[in-house]
Amino acid sequence: MIQITDLEKFYKTEEVQTIALNKLSFNVKEGEFVAIMGPSGCGKSTLLNILGLLDDPDGGSFMFNGTEVAGYNERKRSELRKHNIGFVFQSFNLIDELTVFENVELPLIYTGVKPAERKKQVEAVLEKMQIMHRRNHFPQQLSGGQQQRVAVARAVVNNPKLILADEPTGNLDSTNGNEVMDLLIDLNEAGTTIIMVTHSEHDAKYSHRIIRMLDGQKVTENILA
């Protein structure tokens, strides 16, 4: 599904150039659950942004489902992203002005799903995430665990092929964290490919494969299952 080869990303300020990704290469197969680990500043988030088509690499190749997407413009990236990729963030990133229902509904609006169908799909996913009773609440009225469940619901409502999770349990206590990890496992077992950045060895163990990074390069790769 994903093949990256010699991927490079630099950040430049007026005086200093920082290398965020240094000729990084690896593949992810469809249905895989991959955890990416490494110390702060090793390039994990940069990698996730590029994989999520939120950012452009400065060099190398990025094949998504057999197509080179490294040179895509914003419009094409947006198009590909909204149909194929779901995001889960450490800080949930729900829109404060929208209710739970409306937040989950957003990706469907952008993919042009009709209102009646949207309602059905949103309600189904809220049921599944056991957050239906909070559908009319605003994010600030929910606990952290509930907010992350909403965020996961939003990430999967479109049935994306790939979910990118950036430290999904980072802001949660262990009980809520485990619940979220269980949700991700369920999704993966249903066929969704998951790439997760994490600091937590405990969470990483849920994955099939752990890629460890340092200074923008892959250091080791452990296959768990």
Partner: protein, 815 residues
Amino acid sequence: MIKNYFKIAWRNLMKHKVFSLINIIGLTIGLSASFVIGLMVYYDATFDDFHKDGDRIYRVVTDLISPEDTFSISGVTLALEDEIKDDSNFETVGSFYIERPSKVENRELGSQFKWPNFVIFTDANYFKIFNYTFLAGDETNILSHPNSVILTENRAADYFPNTVPSDIIGKTLVYNDSLNVTVTGIVENFKERTDFVFEEFIAKPLLLQTRLRENFLNLNWNNTNDASQLFVKVASNADVSAIQNRLDNLAAAHQDEDSKKYGDEQKFGLQPLSDIHFNEKYGIYDWTKGQANKSLLTNLALVAVFLLLLGCINFINLNTAQASQRAKEIGIRKTLGSSRKQLISQFMGETFLLVLISALLSVLLSKWLINVFSDFVPDGLNFELFKSPLIVVSAIVLLIIVTFLSGFYPALILSKFNTVSVLKNHLAVGDKKVKLRKFLTIFQFTIAQIFIIATLLVGKQINFLLTTDMGFKTDAIISVYSPRGEREVSKKELYAEKLRAIPEIKEISIGGTPPASISTNSTSLSYNNGEKEVNTDLQFIFGDINYSKVFELDILAGRSIRNDTVKELVINETCRKKLGFKSPEEAVGKIVLLGGENVPIVGVMADFFQRSLKSNIKPMAFRGDWNRPDWSQFQGLHLALQNESSEGLKTTLSKIENAYKSVYTEIDDYRVEFLDESIQNFYNRERKMSKLLNWATGLSILISCLGLLGLVIYTTNRRVKEIGVRKVLGASLFQINTILCKEFLILVAIAFVIAAPIAWYGINNWLQDFAYKTSIGFWVFLVSGLAMIFFALIVISVKTLQAANANPVDSLRSE
């Protein structure tokens, strides 16, 4: 999706109530001004736009051009019509003569009407050019009978109350006591807006039975009068420049010897129908309605545009300043697949919602504004006009333009945010955006500052106009005019006799107009000093031997007139200089040639203002009424009153009116004027402009200060931590306030530097209209600059003092 946009727009609006309020107030004021002024422009621009082939209808007008001046008359010589009526360039040539009958009687009912207005003498061609709807009467033989009249339904209702139009046909009205005229038609009054206010159309031949008989029998190319109106409807293939050539040739061919000698010429022009409502040079038929004034409308439109711009600027400033607060939402939306176009539409939708709310409020506010600006707003203007499709479409277009002006730049900025950065909270406030905000704030304050300076200077000039000594006595003087058409001097003398019994009246004079008035009477004068002949136009004021006492005219040499029927002149200083006399004394005793007669100068009076201070003092002479046997120039009595309380004045006035009633029977035509009020009326337009400026100033300060308040609230909130640290380190309240205010006051100061020369240039231009003007004082600029800084400081301090007073522990803990 649109529902979603509006939902989030509404929630955002409610979340940031202060900012929303600031935006709505600014836009509402701008939109209200635009609505009202737009309605006014529409109202005036649609006068007489309903006549069939209106673009082919012209009024023929006259300009009398002399080496000194050009005098414009809406009428033409009576001789012109016959010369052009067969020209194939014209489809129809129609004329009419405006003349108020002294009396109209319906003897059947025993009712009489004095001096009915809007009566014209005309023929069938008038009705070919202007399409009236006939309610009764023969449409094919319009005014073919010499003693016939057509009435509008309104006039018919006055003369023949409760009678249906068809029953009025054939009835007789008696004009001026002896002319029997039959009603042959009743027409509908024009329903649309029109300057053609005529109510009574009498067959032209009847003019020969009035005082104007001679004028019509002996057509004179050099006698032109506003009452004699000529309209043409040009053929659809007409060559307008050929018509103009023909008119020029006719004018040149009929120039008389005197005109050639003095370099005077007359020029005929074609005034398009659509120009009549706007061109004050030639005027309209009902002066009380007031004509549209293009420059006033332009100024009003500019005020509306500026107010609207100020509102838009507030929106841009506040929204770009707040942008970072919305960054997260934008990042999430982009991540979930929103395109930039979708984001821009979302923000434009939000802007439109705000503009729409403002527009709804504006409609309410406009009603109130129409009252406030009643001086400018014509009587017929009301909200019914809002039903016009053109107005509705224009209003929608305006809302879209305002939405774009306000919303597009913020939408562009917001949608451009880098998704990765905003989700990481790494949002840098662009230097460019801050610069733009500063630039826009400076722009706002520049406009407000220009308005302040202009208000002060216009006020100063008006004060100068109203307080400058006119050169004669103006207070406690009233003029009582004789009934219209009444020229008998003996009755005036009888009235004066009765008034002498009232002790509150100091002096009484019978005369023409006061020394300063809007009407002029002039003739050319020549003087030969033995070496060369000097020619000049000479204006007159007419009066008896008391006239100079009532108005306290200052006689510099010689004496005033001794008798009001003896030919002698008291000239003013300007005339004395023009004729080449070195001193007033030298002029006394000299003989000048006036209309072919020798007349001696018996005195020289000091100059005074004959009109408003807009015009230069012209050569003038005070004279008696020596043409009295033919035509008396005396129109009424001027009374100098003792100074007394307003209660006493009331009693005196009623005594004066009672005396009038004992002399004259035409008591409805009692006209009294206070000289100081008449002089104030010279400056009506300036006073209107001043009122307009006061409002524009107030509103522009309000909008700009609100915008500033918004920016201050935003900036101060961002600097809460800095304020906390400074306080902990020992900064005083004053020091912190100074730091916070400085940033904004610099902008206001820059605005002043830009505004001052622009305001100076504008006001200097405006002052060119006046022959006599106030100085543009340095202090005005100083005061207005300080005033602006004062307003800004108050607004800024409201927030900064609150921030500076806050407990630093709170702000530091939240970090």
